[in-house]
């Protein structure tokens, strides 16, 4: 029943996303319209995939650092991606892929650095150190980013900021294809880790006694979730709160087992981002809001409510 509702919501939001827009395309002309094929459909599909990637990697990272407030961007990835993007803009790197690739490189660089910091005694990944390392690397990257931005020209600055807040205006079938080819591997890796992640919630030692290879699990989940997030940043910028809110909502509705949590968080993340993007490009049409602003406007109040529930209980 709840799964059926989720499926319906996927169809409904995708339907709304391809029907609504600043250009008024009558329903009977829709399938013949390039606006449908070249703009709305790839954009909706990309938003769905990115939202799904963020939702699933949020689930993975919350289980990994065993902290309900973890989010895919908490571990320094957004800082690294932002730095990469700003460097690409400051250096005026040419070509449509310069910005996404630079952001991806920045995110992966931050990931590698945080990973290295989180390796305690050269072997074990310590989630607490990982968390602190992520915050530290993120803050450092943000400082460097601000330094570059403060020295840059005003128009470049606006581009950098808009890009950082995320959006799908650059969506095309090529970006959809890139994500569709890239994302399945880390997603399958996360799915394979679903049951051991259930065990990890008990603590590392109990999880090992129940048969989980905790050391490898932590490494694999961290890498898979981070690589998913890095790809999402590269094609869509930093879109906050999807990876934080979606896992919590899914946990409340479908329970805490990762076998259901991962797929439902993927679908729910996709729904949230498609809906947010539809809002972002229709409410102030013909202009667009960065989609990160919409998810934050929806996400922050939701987050505040969740936070209260937690502190009360």
């Amino acid at each position: 029943m709840r799964y059926a509702l989720l499926g319906l919501a996927v169809i409904a939001t995708l339907g709304a996303a391809v029907l609504l827009g600043p250009a008024n395309v009558p329903l009977r002309d829709l399938l013949g319209s390039p606006i449908f094929w070249q703009l709305r459909l790839p954009r909706a599909v990309l938003a769905f995939l990115v939202g799904g990637a963020l939702g699933a990697s949020g689930v993975g990272l919350q289980a990994l650092v065993r902290n309900p407030l973890a989010d895919p961007f908490l571990l320094g990835l957004s800082g690294g991606a932002g730095l990469g993007a700003v460097v690409a803009i400051a250096l005026a790197l040419p070509g449509p892929w310069a910005l996404p690739l630079a952001a991806f490189a920045g995110a992966v660089g931050a990931m590698a650095l945080v990973y290295r910091l989180g390796l305690v005694g050269g072997a074990q990944l310590d989630p607490r150190v990982l968390l602190l390392g992520g915050v530290a690397v993120g803050a450092f990257a943000a400082a460097v980013t601000t330094a570059i931005v403060s020295l840059a020209e005003a128009t470049e600055l606006r581009n950098a900021f808009l890009w950082l807040w995320g959006g799908f205006s650059g969506a095309s079938w090529t970006t959809v294809l890139v994500i569709a080819v890239y994302a399945p591997l880390p997603l399958v890796v996360l799915a394979a880790a679903a049951r051991p992640l259930d065990l990890l919630a008990l603590g590392e030692e109990p999880a090992q006694y129940l048969g989980a290879d905790v050391r490898r699990l932590k490494q694999v989940v961290y890498l898979a979730a981070s690589l998913l997030t890095a790809a999402a940043v590269a094609v869509a910028g930093v879109i906050g709160f999807v990876g934080l809110i979606v896992p919590h909502v899914c946990r409340l509705v479908w329970g805490r087992l990762h076998r259901t949590l991962l797929p439902t968080a993927f679908l729910a993340g996709g729904i949230l981002l498609v809906a947010s993007d539809t809002l972002a490009r229709t409410v102030v049409a013909p202009r667009e809001l960065p989609v990160g602003i919409v998810t934050a406007l929806v996400g922050v109040p939701l987050f505040a409510v969740l936070l209260r529930r937690w502190t009360v209980s």
Binding site: R66, A191, L202, Y209, L210, G211, R251, R256
Partner: protein, 267 residues
């Protein structure tokens, strides 16, 4: 008939990084099917370290630890979890969970990567719940359980692994007498009825003396004595280990330790 040797530890030594002394030094132990072993000793005497090293969580610096004849560190965690079920001293409950779900976690080592929970797994969970007198708790939320019920559920989870050896690390800390006795009786019954081996770490010398076949007494990481309770728990040994004057009496043929008051030692 020789009973199957499940856990064999010989001359085991361990040292944590930066520690001044060995956490474990030259400890030996043999646990066979159908035997109830108790590990006794003061805080910091190496009881939990013995379990960690014995089951391959940490690499020993000396000696060897073998499960079914294979080095403990040579097992994959999954394979080992099908042979040994552990109820650790502490664990977290980050997210709310029902009892049956918790016990089902014990089936993890038997499940395939993407495969579903099978009827045999569900049957094993129900058997474990019944064996631990926890069947009527199955649909309760974990956080509504009393301390004694919670420990029975955790024991059921370990049983659901269908192990040959059960390891319980201080299972009755913070339980009252009735629940403490229930847990020891339950463990003893599992050993007798199902031929399981049990290794119980405990502070309760007197309960260990009455339930265990074999006792290992640790002090500062070293084995002070090992053997039948009557041979190990002598007044001289226990007062050395626990650094307190003791008298030993006998109940039902088993030694019972009575800590003496100061006035009783200086009449």
């Amino acid at each position: 008939m020789d009973r199957e040797l499940i856990l064999a530890v010989a001359g085991l030594g361990c040292r944590y990084a930066d520690a001044a002394r060995d956490a474990l030094c030259d400890v030996s132990l043999e646990v066979r099917a159908g035997e109830f072993h108790a590990v006794l000793g003061p805080n910091g005497s190496g009881k939990t370290t013995l379990v960690r090293a014995g089951l391959g969580l940490i690499r020993p610096s000396a000696g060897r630890a073998e499960v079914l004849g294979r080095p403990a560190t040579g097992w994959s965690r999954r394979e080992l979890a099908r042979v040994v079920g552990v109820v650790p001293q502490r664990e977290d409950n980050l997210f709310p969970q029902r009892v049956r779900e918790t016990v089902l976690l014990g089936r993890y080592p038997h499940l395939s990567l993407f495969g579903d929970v099978r009827a045999t797994d569900r049957a094993a969970v129900e058997r474990a719940l019944v064996a631990c007198d926890a069947a009527d708790l199955a649909d309760r939320w974990l956080w509504t359980l009393s301390g004694g019920e919670y420990q029975r559920v955790r024991l059921a989870r370990a049983l659901a692994q269908e192990p040959k050896l059960l390891v319980l690390d201080e299972p009755t800390t913070s339980l009252d007498v009735r629940h403490e006795m229930q847990l020891f009786e339950l463990t003893r019954a599992l050993v007798d009825a199902q031929g399981l081996a049990a290794l119980v770490i405990t502070h309760h010398v007197n309960l260990a003396a009455r339930f265990a076949d074999q006792v290992l007494l640790l002090s500062e990481g070293r084995a002070v004595a090992r053997g039948a309770p009557g041979d190990v728990l002598t007044a001289e040994t226990v007062q050395n280990v626990f650094a307190w004057p003791m008298a030993i009496t006998s109940f039902d043929g088993r030694p019972q330790m009575i800590p003496l008051r100061t006035k009783e030692t200086n009449p």
